[in-house]
């Protein structure tokens, strides 16, 4: 099975381990992530005002290119997923907007793609049972906090990947690879997102809430599916540790890094060394 794959800007640069670990995990599970021959940035945000058609042109261009390579496209970054899936819906359902966008990008696209997050590929196309069966190094005893953030889930009627108030897809995957998922109240709260641009105080507060909530429930590692969440959480951790009595910093990793490790991948594809806090001592301590 080959699945057309849209990496997006950040997975090709600062979040490279997210990309390499996912591609290698796919191979270990018997399929291939085939990078689109041509792609551009999705715009890193779905335009919230419906009259902002120019904001839909970049993602539609991506979708039009993906359609040439199959009827499905998968992505890993929560924001890319949010933008592509919602744009796809607009193009599919709103013929007038589709016409205007088509005129702009000079390409025909009708919204017929199935936009899938890597989670959906693992859950619906591969199956978590098969993931579990392929595990070579079960992460037994690791208490992992699955952090969804916002873009994977909301708005519910457009995304539909899981329940928007009480999702479980992330925990189900972590369970399949042997972890002990830790449920925590802030798992669907925002990390501070684009406030990273100049309002670090807001990011520290929001990311701090998320980490305190996860670590307070016993998480030894926080797992994300968004490079901006990963960056914000990592960057806010020193302030959190300095300002909160009893707070012990934890590694913040991509879910594909843990998945890849569990599938027995070579460490060069996992990129643990690029995380601000190394997860390997924890893995060693747990004997996995």
């Amino acid at each position: 099975m080959k699945i057309p794959y849209y990496p997006g800007c950040t997975l090709s640069t600062t979040a490279k381990p997210f990309d390499t670990s996912a591609r290698a995990a796919a191979v270990a599970l018997g399929f291939e992530m085939e990078e689109l021959k041509q792609w551009n940035c999705c715009g890193a945000g779905f335009p919230l005002t419906p009259d902002n058609i120019i904001g839909l042109t970049a993602p539609t261009k991506v979708l039009a290119n993906a359609r040439k390579e199959g009827d499905t496209v998968t992505t890993l970054c929560s924001v890319c997923y949010n933008v592509l899936k919602r744009t796809n819906k607009v193009v599919r359902d709103d013929k007038e907007k589709r016409r205007i966008i088509t005129d702009f990008i000079e390409e025909e696209y009708d919204g017929s793609l199935d936009v899938l997050h890597f989670f959906e590929v693992l859950r619906d196309k591969v199956g978590f049972d098969k993931v579990k069966a392929a595990v070579k190094r079960p992460l037994t005893g690791i208490k992992a906090g699955a952090y969804y953030g916002c873009m994977l889930l909301r708005p519910f009627e457009d995304m539909g990947i899981d329940n928007c108030e009480a999702p479980t897809v992330f925990e189900d995957l972590l369970e399949a690879i042997g972890c002990e998922p830790v449920d925590f109240p802030d798992k669907i709260e925002c990390c501070g997102a684009h406030m990273a641009m100049g309002r670090e105080d807001i990011v520290e507060k929001l990311s701090g809430n998320v980490m305190q909530s996860a670590v307070g429930r016993g998480a030894e590692v926080i797992v994300t599916s968004c490079p901006l969440c990963q960056y914000n959480l990592e960057k806010s951790q020193p302030a959190m540790a300095a300002g909160t009595a009893g707070y012990r910093p934890v590694p913040i990793v991509y879910f594909t890094q843990l998945l890849g490790y569990a599938l027995g991948q070579d460490e060069t594809t996992l990129g643990f060394e690029s995380n601000a806090m190394d997860v390997r001592p924890l893995l060693k301590e747990k004997g996995v």
């Binding site: 800007c9 904001g55 708005p155 901006l228 960056y231």
Partner: protein, 133 residues
């Protein structure tokens, strides 16, 4: 307070509703949006208060507050609204009213070099979308 119809349905209010597709009268002020908003602690006017001001046609009051610039767009407000009103969309509409005039909220040259060098591309692209015209 005396309310004028021409203020409630001002040109700017009509423009905002046209841009966003939202109908501010639908809101019955339950406060769920402000309750769920992770950034309300920092806002000069909470999301439900923003909508109340808009219902009264007091758009200038909202434009003066920092609320639209600190909204993170996480859509928690909308996902919990029993009337399907999107405070996030209205706030984006207000930002757009400023940005479409060519006024930047942040200047690119003011951003610190370490941020530009180390931040994920996504942070920079998405910040530009929200703050730069």
């Amino acid at each position: 307070m005396k309310l004028e119809k021409k203020e409630i349905k001002s040109e700017a209010m009509q423009q905002l509703e046209r841009m966003t597709g939202e109908e501010v009268r639908d809101c019955y002020q339950c406060g769920n949006c402000s309750g769920g908003c992770p950034v309300s602690f920092e806002m000069e006017i909470a999301p439900s208060q923003v909508i109340r001001f808009l219902q009264l046609g007091k758009l200038e009051e909202v434009m003066r507050a920092n609320t639209m610039w600190v909204c993170v767009g996480c859509l928690q407000c909308y996902s919990r609204c029993p009337k399907s009103v999107s405070a996030a969309k209205l706030l984006e509409g207000l930002r757009q009213m400023v940005l479409r005039k060519g006024e930047n909220h942040k200047e690119i040259e003011d951003l610190p070099f370490p941020f530009l060098k180390n931040a994920p591309q996504q942070a920079i692209v998405s910040g530009f979308r929200k703050f730069v015209s």
